[in-house]
Structure formats: structure tokens, C-alpha cells
Symmetry: D2
Subunit: 364 residues, 4 copies
């Protein structure tokens, strides 16, 4: 398996570069018989698309997806599903010169060292956040597969921007509020403050980070393959493929480390004939296996590395210190565009595990 693919039974291969001809994805191993339409994918891509409002980059990318294999008469066939987005405005940037001043926080330096002069540096190339659109292409299909077969639903939302955090805990009623505001925070008054903070940072040529929370419901008991393919292992591996993610926690996570066992243990009880736990500090995973409770994760995003302020750096050509001011239209905060990406990677991982454990069949 190479670095551009993820999954064991449901394998997503991502390809393309930010300013190349196209970006795209191949999803192999999707069961035959799933009704699928480009609209299913487009809807999630639109939620991720830039240029939608003042707090995201003003680049205009239409990001129209086209399915070029694996779907026949409206259903998946069992063959690999290939999806493409053509990069409409890529030509103008073909001649962009190689930046020799290393941008702090970006992959410039390690990528140059790893691939020499061959790295396609244009617009971040292979390392651009734009590539997360390829995760969404596959993820939208996985999400539909889970919904149709098992009723599983993943909902991710903005829990925190900078130091501003949601006041209440998320509950199912909030689902419909996530996409009703620009920052994707279902607590609308907090969303308003978050947006103001992002605009204020933008005005100063600065950027903000934040935390996404992801909740997946109706996961059957028994997903995850101990020891090394634990559900936490596979989910975190997928999530850390998103640029800017620097932390992942499940259930009570880091805060749970400060509790006593008697406080953190989730006690079992019975509700409507079903075994559940009274609390969910485990985040729905015990011994690396789903226990039937909602899978809850929190994901830390660093503040966007591209800022308009002057920064001191090194020019790799002269090997001397230099000053750099990053130009261009950048997101002052990438968090509001991340929920569909997180939904996608969680869905891909859970669908893969559901196929491995036989809960979803290779033909529907």
C-alpha cells in the first residue's frame, strides 16, 4: 500500500495537485448495488467548497464532480468508482516560480528535502488543503452506504474557534443547525462570536485554529480488529491525513486522564432491552471495538499557517535568514470547512471496518 491510499476493504486512492489538471479519487471495494448519483457527492463537496462567504478564501472553485467509472444505471457495480474535479484555472499559475523562502508552518521545507526539485510546489501541490476534496468524494459514498445499510450517521461540527467554545453539549436536535451558519457551529450565538473573531483575525493578517467534534450514531457493537487495527487506530490514522490536524481524542480524552477510575468508568444499564452505558466517556470504543454507544471524537486544528503578516524565515537558496510575507487569498481559519472532511474520513473508516467484520456485505 502506498501513501495515497487508505483502507483495507474499502480503499480510497487520492490523486491530483492543487494547480495540476485535476484532482480525483478512486474508491475500490464499495459493495455493488448502492444507488449513487453525482448529486450525493456534490452536496458534501459544496459544504467544503471555498469562496462561500467572507471567512473562507475568496478563490472561486466550482468543484464540480464527475463520476467516470464504477457506476452503471445509477448503481455501483462492485468495480472501482473514479471521480474527477477539473482544476478550471490551473493554467495561469503554471509558471509560478519556486518559492525559495520557506513558509513557516507549511510543508515547503520537508517536501523540498524529500522530493528535491521535483515537488510540484504550485499552490501547495499535493499538500494543499484542496486535496481534502478527494477525501470527500469517497467519503460521501461511504456515508451513504452506512446510512442505507445500517442507519449510521456521522455529524461533525465546529466545537471551538480559537478560545471561543460552545457552551452546551451537542445533542441530536442540533444537527440541523450545523450548516445554518458560516462556521458550522450548531450553537448559533456562539457561531456569531466565532465568525467575528475570524474576521477580526483576518483583518490583522492573522489566523485562528479550533476544534471539531464528530459524533457517529447507530454504530453496531463489534467493529474494530484488535490489536493494531483498533477502531481508534484506524480512525486517528484517517483523521491525521487532514492538513492542520495536530490532535485527536476519543470520549473524555485528555480531560479523562485527570479523573479517577470511579468517575471515568461508564456504568452499564439496560434501556428498552438494550445494554447501554449511562455515560459515554469511552467515546463508544472499548478494547478498540465499538460498544454500540455513539463514537465521539474531538480533533484539534492548528491556526492556518498562511498569514499576511511579515514573518522571519530562511531562504533555502542563499541559506540565509530572510523576511517573508505570504500573499494570496487564504482561509483565515480552515476549521469551518473541515466538518464534511471529518465526516468523510470517519465514514470511510467505519464502512471499511463494517465490511471487514461482515456487517456490510460485498453485494447489497
Amino acid at each position: 500500500m502506498s501513501g495515497s491510499s487508505i483502507g483495507q476493504r474499502l480503499v480510497l486512492t487520492s490523486f491530483g495537485e492543487s494547480h495540476g489538471k485535476s484532482i480525483g479519487a478512486v474508491l475500490d471495494g464499495c459493495p455493488a448495488g448502492l444507488e449513487i448519483d453525482e448529486k450525493d457527492i456534490q452536496k458534501m463537496l459544496d459544504q467544503r467548497r471555498p469562496g462561500q462567504n467572507l471567512i473562507s478564501t475568496q478563490r472561486k472553485e466550482k468543484d464540480i464532480v464527475e463520476i467516470i467509472s464504477g457506476v452503471f444505471r445509477g448503481h455501483t457495480t462492485g468495480a472501482p468508482i473514479t471521480m474527477l474535479i477539473w482544476n478550471s484555472d490551473q493554467k495561469s499559475k503554471d509558471y509560478e516560480n519556486l518559492r525559495t523562502k520557506l513558509r513557516p508552518g507549511h510543508s515547503d521545507y520537508p517536501a523540498m528535502m524529500k522530493y528535491n526539485q521535483y515537488n510540484d510546489h504550485r499552490g501547495g501541490g499535493r499538500f494543499s488543503g484542496r486535496l481534502t476534496a478527494t477525501h470527500v468524494m469517497g467519503g460521501a459514498i461511504a456515508r451513504k452506504l452506512l446510512k442505507v445499510t445500517l442507519g449510521i450517521e456521522t455529524n461533525s461540527f465546529t466545537l471551538q474557534i480559537g478560545k471561543t467554545k460552545m457552551e452546551r453539549e451537542f445533542n441530536e436536535k442540533m444537527v440541523n443547525s450545523i450548516y445554518k451558519n458560516d462556521v458550522r457551529c450548531p450553537e448559533l450565538k456562539t457561531a456569531k462570536i466565532m465568525k467575528e473573531n475570524i474576521l477580526s483575525a483576518k483583518k490583522k493578517g492573522d489566523s485562528l485554529g479550533g476544534i471539531i467534534e464528530s459524533i457517529t450514531t447507530k454504530v453496531p457493537v463489534g467493529l474494530g480488529e484488535p490489536i493494531f487495527s483498533s477502531l481508534e487506530s484506524e480512525l486517528s490514522k484517517a483523521i491525521f491525513s487532514i492538513p492542520s490536524v495536530k490532535g485527536v481524542e476519543f470520549g473524555s480524552g485528555f480531560a479523562g486522564s485527570e479523573l479517577f477510575g470511579s468517575e471515568n468508568n461508564d456504568l452499564y444499564t439496560i434501556k428498552k432491552g438494550k445494554i447501554i452505558t449511562k455515560t459515554n466517556n469511552s467515546g463508544g470504543i472499548l478494547g478498540g471495538i465499538s460498544n454500540g454507544m455513539p463514537i465521539t471524537m474531538r480533533i484539534a486544528f492548528k491556526p492556518a499557517s498562511s498569514i499576511a503578516q511579515k514573518q522571519s524565515t530562511v531562504d533555502i537558496k542563499t541559506k540565509k535568514e530572510a523576511t517573508l510575507q505570504v500573499k494570496g487569498r487564504h482561509d483565515p481559519c480552515v476549521v469551518p470547512r473541515a466538518p464534511p472532511v471529518v465526516d468523510s474520513l470517519v465514514s470511510l473508516t467505519i464502512a471499511d471496518q463494517a465490511l471487514i467484520s461482515g456487517v456490510i456485505k460485498p453485494v447489497l
Copy 2:
């Protein structure tokens, strides 16, 4: 790849159960020509071994490792290295009855649902923390490989137990203090408080969690395979295979999410002709690739699930609520035994990536 193996070029396969005949590991893909001795492995196993002091379980397991393949005349041959520990006292427990009262926080419930009655439940079976000894078997070899070939060193230590945290930041001089105290915290006065807190929790029949910090130095620039085999992806996947781990962060991690970009970006400078960053909020990884700075991670462990206090639960046989008091000799806090396990998984992951990128050759 099945759930008992990890790695692509350097593959560790773990086998065995807590109360079966033996536990062991096969390490395949280790370069030929590495000088290796059972003592190299035993040293790290001893650091993990229980029964060493009052704060760990009083079970006495000698955990003597035996190499049964892959080493010839003191050197690795390129063939798979198999290592075994015989479970000395396993027979007495052969007839332990199946627990039908689900232990809160343990894998009992999902494991029963996943494997039906076939799961070997004795002493936690396959889910026991005891299996982390198999990680150490492979990890000790990977750690030596990295040291000998590239000078890379991983040091993990206890940063926090419950709410008690190290006061100062870790620095290289502290390395030698890590194993000079029972809790593996290099700040000795904090270590003393941590130990007291653990003993106090134990007395109450309760348990504590904590945080391990791991620092890896001399990692060359360029390890990690974007997009899905990012260094963070592979490290987190490995670390989440440790029972009780519920969170992983790199560099400034969750706290970094609250900073501005201008604060969190690591500015480049030149030191002795080498490009470095002034700070290390990235934790040594940019764009999923090592940037030459130390790789820093923090890992959250939940408080141990086995507590002596009465807990309410469900009896899976009667499907009714029940009361449970977990007996036996358990660790009131697993964190002090975790540093060699974290060292092992970090070393295995970095060695695997070094082989993939050609930095380490298949024959030394």
C-alpha cells in the same frame, strides 16, 4: 493485513493471550546485519514488567524473552525474528469461569458480542495490557536499529498523573532521571507526589490516569508518506493500539488550537549551518513529513478500568442490572509502565518509515 500486525516494511505481528501458553511477536523486515541479543530486549521488558514496586500490580511475571528465529551468530539475518515469553502460571487459571457481569471500562461486552462465547476471556485474554510486552519485543529491536543507523533516540516519560503535572518542560538532561523513580517522571519532586497520589487512590480502591510525553531526536528530514501515510497518521495508529490510550497530540496539539497563526507558526532560522525552527509547535512534523526537529507527542491514558470499588453493571446472562466488585491484583495506574511501550511503538513506526524512504537499507 490482519489486526494483529502493524507496519509495511518492518512488520510486527503480535500473538498470545494473557493466560494462554505464551505471548510473543514476529518482527519481519528488520534489516540483516543488526547485532542483537536477548539482553537488548530484556532490558526494555524489565522496565515494563509488573510487580516491581507498590504502585504496580503485585502479580509476579518474570517475562523472560527467548529469541527462536531470525538471529544467527549474534546478528539479524533478514529473516523474521520470533520472540517468546512463556506464561509461567497460566495453568491455575484455565478453569476460571466466564464473567457474565460486564466490567465497566473493559472490553468484556464488545468482545463477547464480536466473538461470541469463543473469546478467551481469562485475565483479559487478547485485550490484556500484558500484550504490550509483545510491542516491546519488536520495539526494542527497532529502537536499537534507529540508534545504530541514524542516532535516533526516543524517550517517553510520565508528564502527568491525575491532576499532577510536571512543572518544567522536559530537556535532554532529564533523560537519565526517567527510570530513577517508580512513576517514570524525570522531575523527581513531582514524581514523589505522583506516587503518593497513586497509593492514595489505591487505598480507596480507585485508580488514576495520566499523560505520557514522548520525544524523539535526530529524526532526518523527509520521513512520512503523504497523504494517508503521514507520520502523524502512522504514529497515532500505532499508539492507539495501547489499551487505555484515549488521546494523542503532536507539538502544541490541542493547546495550539487556541493560538493565533502568528503565535503558533515556527519561524525558521539557521544554527550551525542547519535549518531549524526557533520553536517546535509542529512537533517535528509538517505536511505529514518530519522536518528534522524533535518529534514530540503527548498521549492521554484513561484511569485504569479495574477498580476495587463496587460498581453497578449488567449481567449479560440474566440481562438484568447487577453489582460488581472486580477482584485481583491490578495496577492502580498503568501510566508508569507505559513509557517503554510508547518508546517501542514510536521506534517501530519511525523505523518502518525510514525503511520505506530508503534512509535505512535492507542490509546494514
Copy 3:
């Protein structure tokens, strides 16, 4: 790993269907810095293209390849290389009805049973020989990589059609004759007879099979990973992905089974300071590892399954016996179009092994 991908370090993913929108390939893991041009790929695709002469199907497919990712300023970047061929005339066949009479020798029956009604049956869909163009896309790059880095060359040719076989053994001087005739047999007078036999079978509405021989020179000693990734294992796995292949042998192969050890053993000698063997009954592989001698394989192709004659079969709908006459423009013998496909799969496999063993570096 799913069924549409092959390779460990150099991974080819094939997608598309015979009458879908497109067919294509993603090649991941190709070292950065290889000079590559669509012409390099087109040349081998043209050798495989149908409609070139009277002995191949008269369908006219231009098969123009387009690279849509992974190449920048004429060189590979280390990112996945995606290649596409648009199926020009696919629309007209969209409404082709499902064949319910099972075509003997084809995948119709097992594919229907495996994928139910979801299988894209048009023109053979995913099972069409047309998909071998995707092998060639990746193979052309692998072949160039091997030539540029190690001087390795693979040449495959038609050894036998039906019962007509080359009289002499292949030698290096014959390389340039391979593509100078329609059947790709470097012995021109035999080629002539082979062509006549194919045309004669075609006239009778019948088809012929044959044998391809493949010879790879300048392979360094040491490729292949015992035990299960032996060079024979990996080569045969790749070759059997070609439709119609029913046998593979290395060196003296099946005939060698009838020899005595004293006849079949290749004796060592020294030539120009280099250790070689006097004969090459091993086909260049001992203990699953290349020994520096040319790698020689023979590959058996069954006669094409599509014949114009009436055949008795079963109608899967009525579950009754039926008579079938396959219409359309089919190859009376697929062997003459196979040499570039065999070259491709051999090159992909050897390049993959060269990357695994460190003989080719990830950045050139």
C-alpha cells in the same frame, strides 16, 4: 488492498469499463525525477491497440492517453500519476440489453453470480481485454524507470500460435524483429504461417491460442522477498491478471520436470569476472530471488472465447439449454496484442521489487 490494485511500493490501480466513460490507471510510488512524457506511454499503447491489421478486431479505438496528475515540468514528482483514455464511442452501447445466454469461456456467468444484476456487462465491462490498456499505462512508466536506472529491458514476443512454434531459440538480435510483423513473432517465416493460421481460423468462425515468451535482461542479483513474495510468486500473480492466461512457467518449466537433476542444474562459471551459469534452466530465479541471469517466462493463452460459430449454452433467465452465436468484431487470436501487456506487468513487478530491496531509490 483491493482487487483493482497491484504492487507494494509501486502500486498500479486500474479503473474503468469497456463501454463506460473512460478507462484509466493510477500509478503510485513511482520515484520522483523520472522524465516522462505521454509519448512514452502512447508508444506501448499503440503496440497493443486493436484495429491495426486483419488479424485483430476491426473496432477502431484511438486509445489516446492523457496524464492528469503526478507529472510536473516533464518529470514525475513522487505523487500518484493518473492516466486516462476516454472511451470515444461508448454512448451508442448504453442501452445494450443484458445477455441472458451465457457465452462459453467468458466471465458472464460467474460475474452475474458474484455481482447480481449490478455488473456492467456492456462489452465485457470490467472483464474486457480492453482493460489491459490500463496495465500498459503503468507498465510503460515502470519499463522506462527500469531502463533508465538499471538498464533492465523486458522483451516479450509470440513464441507459438496454435500448434505453430518458433523453430529457433530467441536471441538478442531478434528484438528488433518483434514488431516488424503482425503476430509479434521475431522469426519472420514462422510469423507468416502463424498469420495465415489465424486468418484461416477466423474464416471458419473459430479462434486460436498461443504462447508468449518474455525475457528480461540485466536484472541485478537479489530481487524477490522470500518466502511468499518470491519473484516467481509476484510475477505470476501479475501475469495471471491478464484475461485468457492459463499457464505460466519459468526457465525450463514443465519440460524441466522430465529432466534429471544432473541435466537441469545450471552450473556456475566465471565470465569477464562475473559469476554466471552456463545454462539458464532456472529462468534467472533461484530460491525465489533473481540470480543475475535473464528472467525467462513462457505464458499460455487460451484460444479467444468469442467465436462466430454456434455454441450450445444455457439461458440463465429461463434456466434452459439454448443456442448462442456471438456477434461483433472480435480478435480471432489475442496473442499478437499481448506482448506489450506482458512487458508491462513484468516491468511493474520488477520495478516494485527493485524499490523494495533498495536498488532503486524513491528519488532519482
Copy 4:
């Protein structure tokens, strides 16, 4: 995946060396709930064991298998199953000197070049035919799994030794005759001639090769994952891991290449309501997928490389030509010991594919 493992869902890892402490296998991914006993494995190991009669090597190895993990109360648990054979007489050979005269036909030369001086050369080390006992350990379990769940049975037998071939085609009634003679040929009068030929070759210090035929019945329609994980691809990959195998063919194989399509196509008919083919030239596989007919393979074994006659070779130390006479007790023909090994690898491959396609469940 490294070279010592095979399979995707049912993964066999082989370890050990001919004269090391032990040889063994880990089988991961075997469904929970299979009744298994060391006797099931021992029976097949005994069929492979040397020293049983005059035509095999006179080394006495008891080859007693011990299960050390993954089985609890007589059933598999879903955890990896580890099996060991201790090499009883390994110590005496610890000091055997490195052979510098290259043995023709053996892996000596490529192994030395690949692993330098680190290769464990004793008794062939990792390349010894002895390692096929590890294939049998896993294969015996896979074979039982297939029998119990789907009624699938694999029977392999000696079809040809040197130039002596069975006269009649194999039929099911012959199954019981396979192990009733030393050469494992179910045609007893032919078996007698074969044995005489082997003894005659042995007397001359020479060796013989031969052909194994393998027939697998009751395989359900639909196993195999196109394109690259075709059933032929996966079976051949597994079979070529056996030392001495140089050719594999399915159904009519190489002979089928000489037929017309009208002769080789298998016509469909209906028998007892089931769709079958009148002939089985496809060997039970069409389009890489099983079609419900018996899977038939023929496997070419070269004559054993170890012969007692003097052979000319090269001394790798002096880099000069030399004469070599291989001493020790070797098999004059390995074919009679191969049927259980072939049965094992076929069973492992088919069981793996049955798990992948969901025909066998992860818990029985």
C-alpha cells in the same frame, strides 16, 4: 506486508530456519469457533514428514506441532493461532562452516548476494524445503475450515515423475489411493514404476522432478477479486512460494493453447437444476472468478538440486572454478512430499477469498 506473510484476511506468517531453534507459523484472521486440535495439523504434517520411506531423505525429524496461542477450549478464538515445531537436532550443526562453493540449483548465490554474510546458511536456512512444514501448519486449519463451512475439499497427488505419467485421468474414487503408496500417485501400478525410477536415480546420485495435480471440489461460484486478485493470480502466487516449483497451469493450460476456441470453450448445460459446464478446460475459473466447477491445477517441480554427483561450480571466495560434491541425506525427488503442501496453499488461498467475499463469516 513483508515477504514472510501471505493472505489478506486469512494471513499466514511463516518463521524459522532449517537448523535454527524452531520453525513455526502464525495464522491470523481465522474465524472464531472452529473446532481445532493439534491432531488435525499433525496428520497433514505426517504426510509431509521426511524419513518415512526409502525415496525420501533419511533425516529423522519428528515434526511434532504445538499450538501456543489462539485456541481456547478446543476452538479458535478469532485471535492469531501460533504453531511451533522445535528443531530437535539443531545444535550439532551450529558450527557448520559457510559453504563457499556455490551449489548449482540452490539459493546459495543469490542469498549470499542479497543478505551478505548474515544469511543463515545452515541446512538451507530460510530457503530449505523444511519451511514448507509451516505452510502445512496454517494450511491444515484452512483446509478444515473449508470442509466444515462449505464442504470444499482439495486433493493433490503426483501426476508425473520424470517422464512417467498417470495413464488415466483422476477421478474422485482415486482419492483414497493417494496416500496408499510412497509417491502419492493414486494409480498404483504407475506409482510402482515411479518409485523404481526414483530409487534408480538415487542410486546414480541423481534426482528427478515431476508434476503435481490439484483438484478442489465444491468451490462456490464467485470467489476471486478482479482484476489483480484473480483466483489464478492468488493461487499461483501461493504455489510459487514452494521451493522447486517452476510452472503452474489451470485447466487445459499449456495444452489448451494449441486448441481451437471451438474445442477449448466449455459449453454450459444444466444438471439437476444446476448450471455446469460439459468439460472443464477452464479449470473452474473464468474471468478470474470461480465458476463452480472443480478448480484444477498442474504444478511443475524441477528435479531436486542436491545430487551426489560431482558438479563443476565457482568458489565465491576465490572467485575461481571449482568442483563440488554435495553431501548429506537429500530427497532424490521432492514431489512425493509435496501434495500436503499444495493442499495447504490452495486451501489457504481459497479460504482467504471466501472470507473476502463474505461466503465464510468471521465468527462461525
